[in-house]
């Protein structure tokens, strides 16, 4: 006995076959091949046939400069410290600093936040979230290594040695930091907003494992500036 619920698919199949047969009967061989190709393309569309091929991120290596948006960035190293200048972590945590040389290669000044968006907080590295219990990680605080002052503007043609700093959980005990550098794309006109002429943080362009040097035992709370730990390592 034929089950009632099978009637639907059978009917649809028979109808489809009759339509296809009726159409194909009037076609030449070339037309049938072309129609078949089109049908195949339509059939695979839902499975990502037209999606852009995912770009493989290039390797990020310590000491090797990379170009990202208006910046040339050379990540030198990563280091942890109990505190960095005025940045003091919660008890049990420590500060994580990524030391990099950054040059604005453009003709106009760029904001420090643009650099922060190019080097987001490392994932799976115990970075303390912006708000407790929420997944969003904070942007880096950018400190000038030489004097410990905050940098908000990067003028063209000068190379700043900076530390990008996040608070890190004391429970993280890795020896290599999974760091990513994001491509910055210039948006001349933003059709979705009023903010024309800005850098947009796009896809990950570079990623690599940067060795982390732990805080030196002699690191003292009174040391001034981010130069402290990063330079001692």
């Amino acid at each position: 006995m034929k089950h009632a619920r099978n009637a639907g698919p059978d009917l649809a199949f028979r109808l489809t076959r009759r339509v296809v047969t009726a159409v194909a009967d009037d076609m030449s061989t070339t037309q049938r091949v072309g129609a078949g190709a089109v049908a195949a393309l339509v059939a695979i569309s839902p499975f990502g046939a037209w999606s852009e091929v995912e770009v493989q991120a290039d390797p990020l290596t310590g000491g090797v400069p990379v170009e990202v948006g208006p910046f040339e960035v050379t990540v030198e190293k990563a280091a942890t410290a109990d505190e960095l200048g005025h940045l003091v972590p919660q008890p049990g945590n420590h500060m994580l600093a990524v030391v990099a040389d950054v040059t604005n290669t453009g003709d106009v000044p760029e904001y420090g936040v643009t650099l922060s968006s190019a080097i987001p907080a490392p994932q799976d590295a115990g970075i303390v979230p912006e708000e407790p219990g929420k997944p969003k990680l904070p942007s880096a605080t950018i400190i000038n290594i030489e004097d410990g002052t905050s940098i908000s503007i990067l003028n063209p043609g000068v190379t700043h040695r900076v530390a990008l700093i996040w608070e890190q959980s004391g429970e993280w005990s890795g020896t290599e930091l999974p760091l990513e550098v994001v491509e910055l794309e210039w948006v001349e006109e933003d059709p979705l907003g009023l903010d024309d002429g800005h850098w947009f943080a796009n896809e990950i362009a570079f990623q690599g494992e940067i060795p982390v040097k732990p805080a030196a035992p002699e690191a003292s709370a009174g040391e001034q500036g981010a130069s402290t730990e990063a330079e001692q390592q």
């Binding site: 000044p109 004097d147 000068v158 002429g197």
Partner: protein, 206 residues
């Protein structure tokens, strides 16, 4: 009196569509007259008072510094700090002077730093001179022929805040040989806090 419903005719529709299309085309394709939005540039030199209608401006001194010191912090330059002392005198009302930018001979633009006790803007009451110090971290090749652009409108958004307004462009007077000497000099400068200049500099005058 009977009001009949107006009929939509092909002719009327064509006229409306044509007018809208022509308007869009005019706005899109006709070149916009830059002169309409261009600021009024007032050029000058160091020490020369400039009349910007809303204020009188004098760039009083130009120095360089490797390090800036203030009671709060010391700031080291990545290149060198081009330190520009200026005196504003608002003439119409309380005015905030937001625009400060250095341009070099290559057309590169540099914005001031707030590190080391420097100002990025100034605000002054009318009739009184107000001294302020701007510090720009610039590379060596930006010194020669550099000019400073000061105004009440800010320089972000391609000088959008300075449209149809007076802007001072002051030649800092740095020659090639001076640029070399300035770059090599290791100077530490402590910028004075913004305020009224001494009476000898005209600060007490109303």
């Amino acid at each position: 009196m009977r009001h009949g419903r107006r009929r939509i005719t092909w002719k009327g529709t064509a006229l409306v569509v044509g007018a809208v299309t022509a308007g869009c085309a005019l706005v899109t394709y006709l070149p916009q007259d830059d002169a309409v939005d261009a600021p009024f540039i007032v050029e000058g030199e160091v020490g020369q008072p400039l009349d910007l209608t809303y204020a009188e401006l004098t760039v009083t001194e130009v120095r360089v510094a490797d390090v800036l010191t203030s009671p709060a912090e010391a700031a080291a330059a990545a290149g060198t700090f081009l330190v520009v002392d200026a005196t504003w005198r608002a003439t119409q009302g309380e005015t905030t002077f937001s625009g400060a930018e250095v341009t070099d001979e290559q057309g590169r633009r540099f914005w001031p730093s707030s590190r080391g006790g420097c100002s990025t803007s100034a605000s002054a009451q009318p009739g009184y001179a107000w001294r302020t110090t701007y510090c720009f971290d610039v590379p060596r090749d930006a010194l020669e022929g550099a000019t400073v652009r000061l105004a009440r409108g800010d320089q972000t958004e391609e000088h959008g805040g300075q449209r149809r307004d007076a802007v001072a462009v002051v030649d800092l007077g740095i020659t090639a040989s001076e640029a070399d000497a300035l770059w090599k000099a290791a100077e530490t400068v402590s910028p004075e806090a913004p305020g009224y200049p001494p009476a000898s500099a005209g600060g007490s005058e109303g």
